[in-house]
């Protein structure tokens, strides 16, 4: 595949944030997940667990609970507000103050008409869900002590509330508490500390299941208010519970990082009487499991160690299929690194700031595998802190390196950079239309800025030394309301391609300023798109790992793409579980497509034959050991390099050297544990310090 000078960039110390809460919508098969920094992520479980949407968080905004009501998503947090998200425009739609102090939990009834929140002051507040907003309805009988967890009986008549040292059952109609069930405290030193009922679940057979800070999972009879069974699961806290749709299985997440499964099974074969029996234990986390979701086939868990783990239940899925493989989602499914090819600059996007680095230089030559002496060390040129507490959604650096743009939920900012004596100036006057930018992108000659806006439209802004001027808005014909999540331009400045979460890919002709064509819609969401600089072929990689090549001139799939579809991709390629997040092309060899996912980067040589299903896919090591003639016979189009872990970006610079931003795993993990320790200690003090909120 030729030789490259590789800049191995290890100074992008991006740290994902801890997972705080999640909610699974079984109708749309979407998992909503919220992180400690307030960022919301939506995963599409029907489409290879692809991270479809991200809504960045805000400083000092701690979301405690999430709740789906139909297609609508609500969250509540310790700032005492209830927020509904606008999933089309990727921003909070509105927030409602609950006036009950910090909110610990949120829940809705099965009918989707009412929303309830549990507050610090001991009230359970009911909100009516209207079409466009929510409206306060009433309070349930006020209790002493905060309401930590809530669960609504499926019939809607009873509500179970987990509190300090007890569980209360409310009659939803009258609002009065009907039962008060005392939860035993832990033994020994923790006897003096009150026990927190972190989670409750109300089942349709009037069984209440609770998980508490003394490490117990308890099963109560909700009608009589009596304790049926106690399962001591851990020495520490049981933080979350989740019940399967058919109420035959229950999972509990603990602060030891384990997830314990309970199953509702009959003790003998022919007996009908069933009971909850502790069965499996999953240990996939190193720290607290803060959020759980029980889908029909899998246990989804997340916590302090920032990873989202999808652990299929082997009795529910076919064995040895792609579905039965465990998945760990550690890094976002989008590119956080932008590379200015001409200037040799890298832009790293963090939640609350941006960094611009110049890659190091070296003039040495060497054999493959050698490490070259660094003549000039990589240096951090600029660190730009986001303004106003809003976190950064998207950012872009122009290829010449002179322009930098980033967008937050509320605004787009553009900066002009100078490097001789490093300075940064904000372009103060931006066109009014440029207020929303889900994706930002500069044209290759750095004269235009593209920003995707509402309803999949793209705003084009012209840039020059003096001013920046709104040119026009490109709109698709389909009328899709989904946001654009991928944006790319061609090298010659003629084409602009957009992809949205409806799986549509539109290509615009920038010269004619109108829609050129729409690529036939494929069922899986595109994860990376790029336009070839010379042939103007659009390469699309989808979440199900399929690769398509579409000729923009002919408006049809290319010959190579058809051949690839006909022969099918190698099974090992399809089994990879992280999506391709970036596609780029080699300037030297037009037949090369360079793409990468989290664990590898791959150069697809279109001139070589495609791999047969029986051939070795990962064959670079074996090829190296073969003589020249053999090597040619055995080589195939997919040249895969797995030397790196946690690859964040692979990009080709002008001088034909490769920039690989990757983190060594060890570094990554130690960082997690270090950070988790500090957060743990913060968490331990949480009860006290949130009082002041």
């Amino acid at each position: 595949m030729g030789e490259f000078k590789v800049h191995r960039v290890r100074f992008f110390d991006y740290m994902p944030s801890a997972i705080r809460a999640m909610a699974f919508n079984s109708h749309t098969e979407r998992l909503a997940l919220v992180r400690a920094d307030g960022a919301l992520e939506i995963f599409n479980f029907a489409d290879h667990y692809f991270q479809e949407k991200v809504i960045p968080g805000q400083d000092g905004r701690a979301v405690e609970a999430l709740c789906w009501v139909g297609q609508r998503l609500f969250s509540a947090g310790l700032n005492g507000e209830i927020t509904e998200y606008d999933l089309e425009n990727l921003r909070p739609r509105y927030t409602v103050e609950a006036y009950g102090g910090p909110i610990w939990t949120i829940g809705s009834n099965k009918q989707g008409t009412l929303l309830m929140v549990g507050c610090e002051d001991g009230t359970v507040k009911m909100f009516e869900i209207l079409k466009e907003r929510i409206q306060f309805q009433r309070n349930l009988e006020r209790q002493k002590g905060r309401i930590v967890s809530l669960s609504w009986h499926p019939s809607g008549t009873l509500i179970a509330a987990g509190m300090m040292d007890m569980i209360r059952i409310f009659n939803a109609e009258t609002g009065h508490a009907t039962h008060r069930m005392l939860v035993e405290r832990g033994v020994g030193a923790s006897k003096s500390r009150e026990v927190v009922v972190w989670s409750v679940a109300f089942l349709s057979d009037y069984t209440i299941i609770s998980g508490d800070s003394a490490g117990k999972v308890q099963i109560w009879d909700g009608l009589t208010g009596t304790l049926v069974r106690t399962h001591l699961v851990t020495k520490w806290d049981v933080l979350c519970l989740s019940v399967s749709q058919d109420e035959s299985s229950l999972i509990a997440g603990t602060s030891e990082g384990t997830v314990v499964q309970f199953q509702f099974i009959s003790s003998t074969v022919d007996q009908q009487e069933e009971e909850w029996v502790r069965t499996r234990t999953f240990k996939n986390h190193s720290h607290d499991v803060r959020a759980l979701a029980h889908t029909e086939t899998a246990v989804v868990s997340g916590g302090m160690d920032t990873q989202l783990v999808v652990r299929p239940l082997l009795d529910k899925v076919e064995k040895n299929t792609q579905e039965s493989a465990m998945r760990k989602i550690a890094l976002p499914h989008r590119s956080l690194v932008c590379c200015a090819k001409k200037a040799g600059l890298l832009l790293f996007q963090f939640p609350d700031h941006l960094e611009v680095w110049r890659v190091g230089e070296s003039d040495g030559h060497g054999k493959p595998g050698d490490s070259l002496p660094v003549k000039r060390k990589p240096e951090k040129l600029i660190q730009l802190k986001g303004k106003g507490g809003d976190h950064i959604y998207s950012s872009a650096l122009s290829p010449c390196g002179e322009w930098l743009a980033y967008s937050t939920v509320s605004s787009v900012r553009l900066y002009r950079l100078q490097y001789n004596n490093i300075s940064i100036t904000k372009v103060s006057k931006l066109p009014k239309d440029l207020c929303l930018g889900h994706q930002l992108c500069f044209s290759s000659d750095s004269t235009k800025l593209f920003a995707s806006s509402r309803h999949s439209s793209v705003i084009v802004v012209a840039l020059n030394q003096l001013e920046c001027k709104y040119l026009h808005t490109l709109k698709p014909k389909s009328g899709s309301r989904q946001p654009v999540h991928l944006l790319c331009t061609s090298e010659d400045g003629k084409w602009l391609a957009t992809a949205n979460t409806d799986c549509e890919i539109h290509v615009y002709d920038l010269h004619k300023r109108k829609l050129h064509c729409t690529v036939p819609i494929y069922s899986s969401c595109p994860t990376a798109i790029a336009i070839h600089p010379t042939t103007s072929h659009l390469v699309v990689v989808h979440a199900d790992q399929q690769i398509f090549e579409y000729s923009l001139v002919q408006k049809e799939y290319t010959e190579w793409s058809r051949k690839l579809q006909k022969q099918g991709l190698h099974s090992l390629w399809l089994e990879r579980d992280t999506p391709v997040t970036h596609v780029t092309f080699s300037l030297k060899n037009p037949a090369h497509i360079i793409l990468h996912d989290m664990f590898m980067f791959c150069i697809i040589d279109q001139s070589l034959p495609l791999p047969e299903s029986k051939t070795l896919l990962y064959n670079q090591m074996t090829l190296r050991s073969l003589p020249e003639q053999e090597r040619i016979r055995h080589s195939h189009a997919f040249k895969i390099c797995k030397n790196f872990k946690h690859v964040m970006c692979v990009s080709l610079l002008e001088d034909h050297s490769l920039v690989v931003a990757a983190e060594p795993v060890l570094h990554y993990l130690s960082e997690v544990s270090k950070r988790a320790q500090t957060t743990l200690s913060q968490f331990a003090g949480q009860y006290i310090h949130v009082m002041g909120l």
Binding site: R229, L232, Q263, S267, T268, V269, R278, R280, T281, D315
Partner: protein, 829 residues
């Protein structure tokens, strides 16, 4: 094995009692366990062996209480029979022949020879005969594990669970459907998932399985192909060897190599109780049907009985067998017990006659640390002198990179404590390992002498010498003599290997590689050297009694040589690969174990006669390196030529699998069987207080008899001492008054009577009335059809029953009035 018709190789004494899971009877009073070719019945409270159920002709492979009659037990054996026993009395009730070998007591597992195991259901034909052949076999499962712990019945026998390798199979009898669940070979963390044992919950459908990596899995919902589920418990760090639920299903017991019994609460598995320090790895766990007792078998041939409050209440110890026996097998001349390595650092004294461990003698006197890889002191050599007054032991410790540590200890027998007391410790007696050690055999000589040979090229003679009391002004507190070195001998710098004293102690033969040197212990003069075609001498042995002029030796070059010490020349030699040469101390006979083609052959010969007395091919597989002649308590009188050598002593040997085997003759076996059959008839008397008293009485009587009278001696007539007893025993059962009535009379007859009839005179009138009533009862009962009384000899004695005298009748009446509750209390205890 049946070359010599009447001589067989058998397991007798010192066999494994931990081979299979023991069984506790329903009333928790007895423990049944397979032991060699017999089933032993132990008392759970006294640890005594009560019965030895003999009858099987091969290893017993399983014991099980009969579910429909809890006083009977089945046993199965590798000889292809299942036997039904009445274990309280030790009677064989039925024998059933099975076409193939049975190894498992669960139901019956038959084995085909190609190491493929099949679980078969055996229909036991109902028939009155003692020997029944069961023909109806139906295969239930094929390809099961050979380990019986891996197959078990589920709740009420509704299903059977069997694990083999990585697969668990559950077969439901009603639906006739089998479900198979398999595990991956090992997970990423290196756990090994191989099944080791299975247990089923008695009430719930829950199967507990133990695994190689120490995990216990609790399987539920296993009547589904896919929706089965299991939870995992993990405490053991290595393989779980046994699992058992308590009868109510509230607890699960598990054990393994950690020697810790773990009691898990069912459904609250994080609550556990431990019983640590059980001494050795747990191999089996059994629970009594009432849940009051647990018992664990251990790898050191021990059964521990544990109360359900997790407290050890009794230990039944068999012959301890380690990986190897460093010391030879020896016979303690005093107790006639077998002596060999036992617990680490100990010598065990095991009575072969009573099949019981007598005691352990702590040789090393250091704490043994249970950890692999540690080098600790081990007893490597031991020797008794002829009278049993002295015991010499050698212990050594070889640490990596350190010098060898050696201790020679001499122990004197203390009459008062009846055990050995350390007399002398000689540290570093030699500079290198001790290869041989023997005492001078002469019983009449004044001084006792010990000779040790070592790899350092010397042999040393040690002698008991009175301690010189010159050093202290006061006489030393203990004036007992101690041992010191008398002579150091060497021969051309060669390494001495074996040493042997002649029978009278006048000659000492020491082999230096290929040279045998003969020394006079009196003057320490080298008398002669005998040499042979070059190869090292392996064994050296003097002849006994009439053959004491011969010295026999075996060499590495497969030669057995016999030298005549009078002529100092080779008398004869023969080519055979002798692994062990042994002289019977009570006769001229010598035994040679020859290893040939993976099997061991035995030759018994007299040095003076060219023809062997006895030879048997293929005694066992592998090489025999340890054997001993154990003197019999009573001589056998076998006239057959081939078995005469067994008359005075019995030959025991250890196979390579550490099984203690011996030779038995047909007559001996018959005698044993006869005595047990005799018991059968006598013991068919129910287990009543009478029986207890009577049995004792008879034993006393027998004690006075000539022990040589053998079989007929046991048929002595019943005690005729008291008229009342005669009355009791000779009257047919159906005409006897009620037992409570008789009992008091009987007891009274045993007491020394003090006549105080006047005291009860006024009561006589009333009792007379009652007496008439009971008379009527007796009358009516006579009309019933007569039944055979089970009392031995009762039939013959009936006619001789004398009428009661008036006085006796009166006494009977009076006795009846007395309060006898104290007696009941006495009997109960």
């Amino acid at each position: 094995m049946v070359e010599h018709g009447d001589i067989r190789v058998v397991h007798r004494g010192g066999s494994k009692i931990n081979f299979r899971k023991p069984v506790i009877t329903n009333d928790s009073r007895f423990l049944l366990c397979a032991s060699g070719e017999s089933v032993k019945v132990f008392s759970t409270s006294t640890e005594e062996c009560i019965h030895d159920l003999r009858g099987h002709t091969d290893l017993v492979t399983g014991v099980l209480i009969k579910p429909s009659n809890h006083l009977q037990a089945f046993s199965c054996s590798a000889d292809g029979t299942v036997r039904l026993w009445d274990f309280t009395d030790g009677i064989l009730i039925k024998v059933r022949l099975l076409p193939s070998i049975v190894v498992c007591p669960v139901l019956s597992v038959s084995v085909s020879s190609q190491s493929l195991f099949q679980l078969v259901a055996v229909h036991l034909p109902q028939s009155g005969d003692q020997l029944v052949e069961a023909r109806e076999l139906s295969a239930v499962l094929t390809g099961i594990s050979s380990n019986p712990a891996a197959t078990v019945f589920g709740r009420g026998g509704e299903y059977i669970a069997s694990a083999n390798g990585l697969q668990l199979e559950v077969y439901f009898f009603k639906k006739q459907k089998a479900y198979r669940f398999s595990l991956k070979e090992d997970n990423k963390k290196g756990g090994k998932n191989t099944f080791t044992c299975v247990a089923c919950h008695p009430n719930d459908d829950c199967i507990a399985t133990g695994h190689e990596d120490g995990k216990i899995r609790l399987w539920r919902n296993f009547n589904h192909k896919k929706e089965y589920t299991y939870s995992t418990l993990h405490w053991h760090h290595s393989a779980v060897s046994s699992l058992s639920f308590t009868p109510e299903g509230t607890n699960l017991l598990s054990g393994g190599i950690e020697s810790v019994l773990v009691q898990w609460r069912y459904n609250q598995e994080n609550q556990r109780d431990f019983l640590p320090r059980l001494g050795a790895a747990i191999t089996h766990i059994a629970v009594s049907p009432d849940g009051a007792l647990y018992c664990t078998s251990h790898s050191d041939n021990k059964i521990t009985i544990i109360q359900s409050c997790v407290k050890v209440s009794a230990v039944i110890q068999g012959l301890v067998k380690g990986e190897s026996v460093g010391t030879d097998l020896m016979i303690d001349p005093r107790s006639k017990s077998l002596v060999l390595n036992g617990k680490p650092g100990h010598l065990q004294f095991y009575s072969l006659q009573r099949d019981k461990l007598l005691y352990n003698l702590d040789i090393v006197q250091q704490e043994y640390i249970h950890e692999s890889g540690l080098q600790q002191f081990e007893v490597v050599k031991a020797a008794f002198d002829a009278s049993g007054n002295w015991l010499a032991t050698v212990e050594e410790r070889k640490q990596k990179g350190a010098e060898l540590e050696l201790n020679l200890k001499l122990w004197a027998f203390d009459e008062q404590t009846q055990s050995f007391v350390l007399n002398t410790t000689i540290s570093a007696p030699h500079e290198a390992q001790i290869t041989g050690m023997c005492f001078s055999h002469a019983t009449d000589s004044q001084t006792t002498m010990l000779v040790s040979t070592s790899k350092d090229g010397h042999f040393k003679a040690w002698q008991l010498a009175a301690q010189s009391q010159t050093d202290g002004k006061q006489p030393s507190v203990c004036p007992c003599p101690s041992w010191s070195c008398d002579f150091v001998g060497a021969y051309h710098g060669l390494v001495p290997e074996c040493c042997s004293f002649s029978a009278d102690g006048s000659l000492l033969a020491v082999s230096f590689q290929e040279v045998v040197t003969v020394w006079s212990p009196a003057s320490w003069e080298l008398l002669t050297t005998l040499s042979q075609p070059p190869k090292a001498i392996r064994n050296l042995c003097f002849g006994r009694l009439s053959c004491s002029k011969y010295l026999l030796g075996t060499t590495d070059s497969n030669l057995l040589c016999c030298w005549n010490l009078l002529t100092c020349s080779l008398e004869w030699s023969t080519s055979m690969d002798v692994s062990l040469l042994l002289a019977d101390p009570l006769s001229e006979n010598m035994a040679a174990f020859c290893c040939q083609a993976g099997c061991t052959d035995l030759f018994v010969f007299k040095p003076s006669e060219p023809r062997p007395l006895f030879s048997q091919k293929a005694v066992c597989s592998g090489m025999v390196t340890r054997a001993v002649f154990a003197p019999r308590e009573e001589m056998l009188e076998s006239c057959e030529e081939s078995s005469q050598w067994l008359n005075r002593s019995q030959l025991y040997f250890l196979t390579q699998y550490m099984d203690l085997m011996t030779f038995t003759t047909k007559t001996e076996e018959e005698r044993l069987m006869a005595s047990s059959k005799q018991l059968v008839i006598d013991d068919s008397v129910a287990m009543t207080p009478f029986y207890l008293l009577l049995g004792k009485h008879r034993q006393q009587q027998q004690g006075g008899d000539d022990p040589q009278s053998g079989v007929s001696a046991e048929r002595t007539p019943l005690p005729q001492g008291s008229v009342a007893i005669k009355e009791l025993l000779q009257t047919p059962a159906h005409v006897l008054p009620s037992t409570s009535f008789l009992c008091s009379m009987f007891v009274q007859s045993l007491l020394i009577s003090v006549t105080d009839s006047s005291k009860h005179a006024e009561e006589e009138m009333e009792s007379e009335k009652e007496e008439e009533d009971s008379e009527e009862e007796i009358e009516s009962s006579r009309t019933r059809p007569e039944q055979q009384a089970a009392v031995g000899g009762g039939e013959a004695a009936e006619s001789a029953a004398p009428a009661m005298t008036k006085a006796q009748v009166r006494e009977l009446r009076r006795v009846k009035k007395l309060d006898h509750s104290w007696l009941a209390g006495l009997l109960d205890s």
